[in-house]
């Protein structure tokens, strides 16, 4: 990436802290994600990666610090939350497709009811997105009839149908069989090329190295190190990062 053009700050976290009971999951996170930037969050499990992006979508409520999405601060105000949520797409580890709706209805539900789009328009968009993720032929099936990889691709299409400005991925390939991981990663790579702002929590090092503009390494609820993939994989500064890399590579 050139880094020369000036880009707006899409997501800003300032000193975000979060507790589950007595356990502190986030210990003061400061982070800024710019528009069109792809950030991959790495770290051992239990390090607070998922909690962080779930806070950005307010699926979890942070207790201290501030989070801004596209300039709007996350507060208890319900209207704010709904506005932000329709700007921020999210893909879950367990897909969370709605099992009682067809693939088409899964994708068009939110555009029709939240964005108030005409059905015909929403369906056309859904077809377009399904083509993009490569499974237009499954449109009339139910989630239970699809493989894991196909379900995750539908989940991505469903999130994209809201035309979000940011996409959050919470370990999107962790629940998949190895042969299905690639088909999902390919969709994500294609998405990154179109300039979508993305925050991806993953264990896929290859993906991180190839696609990320910046890598954030978290451990025990803190950001230990961040930098370009090149810096991160070849010349890490922190000992903990080195230990992590030595074990994973």
């Amino acid at each position: 990436m050139t880094g020369l053009e000036s880009r707006a700050d899409m997501i800003v976290c300032q000193g975000v802290k979060k507790w589950f009971g007595d356990f502190q999951a986030l210990r003061g996170i400061d982070m800024t994600v710019e528009e069109r930037e792809v950030v991959v969050v790495l770290g051992p499990s239990g390090s607070g990666k998922s909690t962080l992006i779930r806070c950005i979508n307010r699926l979890e409520v942070h207790q201290e610090g501030r989070i801004f999405v596209d300039g709007i601060e996350l507060t208890n105000d319900l209207r704010n939350i709904e506005k932000i949520r329709s700007e921020v797409g999210m893909v879950f580890q367990q897909f969370n497709l709605f099992p009682h709706l067809t693939i088409m209805d899964n994708i068009t539900l939110a555009p029709i009811w939240v964005r108030k789009k005409p059905r015909a328009e929403a369906e056309a968009l859904a077809m377009e997105l399904l083509e993009r993720v490569g499974i237009p032929e499954q449109v009339d099936k139910y989630p239970g009839q699809l493989s894991g990889g196909q379900q995750q691709r539908v989940a991505i299409a469903r999130a994209l149908a809201m035309e979000p400005r940011v996409m959050l991925f919470d370990e999107p390939t962790s629940a998949l069989d190895p042969e299905m991981i690639k088909e999902v990663l390919d969709v994500m790579k294609e998405l990154a090329r179109t300039g979508m702002t993305m925050i991806v929590v993953t264990h896929e090092m290859g993906f991180a190295r190839e696609v990320a503009d910046r890598i954030i390494f978290m451990e025990s609820g803190e950001i230990v190190e961040e930098g370009t993939p090149e810096h991160f994989f070849t010349n890490p500064t922190e000992d903990r990062t080195k230990l992590f890399l030595s074990q994973i590579l």
């Binding site: 007595d22 502190q24 239990g46 390090s47 207790q63 025990s220 074990q247």
Partner: protein, 607 residues
């Protein structure tokens, strides 16, 4: 990949140790109230509305219970009627012996099954706070005198103090749960010596103090003895449990629980007058004949080399026994016990191939047969001997004891029937399935009351001449056949939850279908359906109140009709109903609570 991740977890955990302790976010009653009561405007409105409802309910309820014109004397005076109806006073020690047997079994069971649950000080403190809260509600909302309120307040403060001490100073303290239970019981029993709960006679509008002397008239001494029996039994069990094999001890105790009902009722409470000449001339010879001949046949059948012939012989025995049974209708006069023994032998013979194997197993099988035979013959003898206890009316029990008798007899009888029905409905054999399905669906489709009326009024029409079933027995039969259908559906749920792999594994080990069913499928299925089975038990217990409708003197009828109809207590129906409801509630609530505990325990056992 996975291995690597595990290592990383370990690294992460190690790192956390060195970090500064996490900052604790602010907590406190105000925060708690804001989060749980007033999180939004709607929630606030709900809170206020809920408070008004709660205050109104408790104030009305307590105002009613402690109102000056309530006739609680009706309950207090009639406690004996409530629990045992007209069981004669001079024989009342039998009731206590019957209860004592159950107490001893309970104590032994607690020891043998090692009831070693523990309660933390933190939890005990919570309980103490709860008690204090209850007392405070009581003193705030009940129409008490100020003096009484002051006393309640002091007691509540003491409990708050204890709770605070346990929570803040000794939260990690661990007390055996059994100790807490026995302690509570001891306090209750001890209070009998101080507080006169039951006033025993009521003459000319005056409550008379209990007459001294008979055991029947005062309960404080017997209940103290009962508690001691339980404690002694516990320590006996504790002393013995390491010296006998746990399997044997548990088996014997389970058998004891199964036999508790018939022994208590037929032997202790009915006190049959045995004619020993008759016993040695008829009963003992019949038993010996079946014991010896039956053992020989079973020994032969359970030989591992018997193969297909064994099954054929066993099948022939079943048909023979059935024909022999029906022959009575055509004038063949044989003692009933002979017929029963024959059918039993045939059924046990059917099971013989399942137990075929080495000598030790076969010997156990034979011993089992002789023990069951002895028990059945003994009980049959006791049942057929007239009772010496002279009770007005045809049935020695009434009130709560009748309710308990019907409930437990129903549970014992419906279990095997329900099991067979469930196996039939899930079997691959279409005729069995058709028969069980029809039975289950018909029974589940009609109200219990129609079945009870059917059994009470019409059953005797269907019986052979000379055979009469008492109302109580007819009711038990009706209840059993009814609950069996529901139980079958519950068990079926468990049977269907068994995965195919289990059957395949058993087949791969060369097990026969009966063996697979009894050793692999049923144990797992029953374990899986413990919660619905317990709800079934609760439902059956509550349904015993329908005895009232068919005119039997159960707990409800005693309260609603008998006590409510006494001239001294006209208009006390609500009080009596509340008492009946309270007793039912205490029992069903504790059953459902302990089932939740059991569920947790079983759930842990699976992992």
């Amino acid at each position: 990949m996975d291995e690597k991740r595990e290592q990383l977890d370990w690294v992460a955990a190690a790192e956390v140790e060195g970090e500064k302790p996490p900052e604790v976010p602010p907590h406190g009653p105000v925060v708690w109230a804001r989060e749980n009561l007033f999180s939004s405007v709607g929630s606030g409105i709900l809170t206020v509305a809920g408070l008004i409802v709660a205050l109104g309910f408790f104030k009305g309820m307590l105002g009613y219970i402690f109102g000056a014109d309530r006739k609680w004397d009706a309950v207090a005076t009639n406690l004996r009627l409530y629990f045992t109806q007209a069981y004669p006073e001079d024989q009342y020690v039998r009731v206590w012996v019957a209860v004592g047997v159950a107490m001893a079994l309970a104590g032994l069971s607690a020891a043998i099954w090692r009831a070693n649950g523990r309660i933390t000080g933190y939890k005990l403190g919570g309980g103490s706070f709860g008690l204090a809260g209850g007392l405070l509600t009581l003193l705030l909302l009940s129409p008490f005198s100020w003096r009484a309120r002051l006393i309640y307040l002091l007691v509540a403060l003491v409990f708050i103090g204890i709770g605070q001490y346990l929570r803040s100073v000794r939260p990690k303290l661990e007390v055996p749960a059994l100790g807490v239970i026995v302690g509570t019981l001891a306090v209750l029993v001890g209070s009998l010596w101080v507080v006169p709960y039951g006033k025993h006679t009521f003459v000319d509008g005056q409550v008379q103090p209990p007459r001294p002397g008979t055991v029947a008239m005062t309960t404080k001494l017997p209940w103290t003895v009962m508690l001691l029996v339980m404690i002694v039994a516990y320590f006996v069990g504790k002393a013995v449990r390491d010296k006998v094999s746990p399997g044997l001890a548990k088996g014997l105790l389970s058998a004891g629980w199964m036999l508790l009902l018939p022994i208590d009722y037929f032997v202790i409470l009915r006190d049959p007058a045995l004619d020993y000449g008759q016993v040695f001339r008829v009963d003992v010879p019949i038993f010996l004949a079946f014991a010896v001949a039956g053992s020989a046949i079973l020994w032969w059948l359970s030989s591992p080399h018997r193969g297909e012939i064994g099954r054929v012989v066993a099948g022939a025995m079943v048909i023979g026994a059935g024909v022999f049974w029906l022959a009575a209708a055509f004038g063949l006069s044989v003692r009933q016990i002979v017929r029963i023994d024959l059918v039993m032998l045939a059924v046990v013979a059917l099971a013989a191939p399942t137990f075929a194997g080495e000598k030790a197993i076969r010997r156990k099988f034979i011993i089992g047969w002789v023990v069951i035979l002895a028990l059945v013959n003994y009980l049959a003898m006791m049942v057929n001997t007239p009772s010496t206890v002279d009770v007005p009316g045809s049935f020695p029990l009434g009130g709560f004891s009748l309710t308990l008798l019907v409930a437990s007899a129903t549970l014992m009888m419906s279990f095997p029937i329900g099991l067979i029905l469930a196996l039939g409905r899930t079997s691959k054999m279409p005729i069995f399935r058709l028969l069980s399905t029809t039975y289950i669906e018909v029974i589940r489709g009609v109200p219990l009351i129609t079945i009870l009326i059917f059994f009470k009024i019409i059953l005797n029409l269907f019986l052979p001449d000379g055979m009469v079933l008492g109302n109580e027995m007819a009711a038990i039969l009706g209840y059993s056949l009814f609950s069996a259908a529901y139980l079958a559906e519950n068990v079926r749920g468990g049977l269907q939850s068994i995965r195919k792999g289990q059957y395949e594994a058993a087949a791969a080990l060369g097990m026969s279908t009966p063996q697979t069913t009894s050793f692999i499928v049923l144990p797992q299925a029953l374990r899986a359906v413990v919660p619905p089975l317990v709800s079934g038990v609760i439902a059956t217990f509550k349904e015993t109140s329908l005895l009232f409708i068919i005119g039997l003197f159960d707990f409800l009828r005693i309260g609603y009709v008998v006590v409510g109809g006494q001239t001294a207590f006209v208009g006390s129906q609500r009080e009596n109903l509340l008492f009946v409801a309270f007793i039912y509630w205490i029992i069903t609530f504790s059953i459902s609570r302990s089932s939740v505990q059991l569920e947790k325990k079983l759930g842990l056992g699976e992992r």
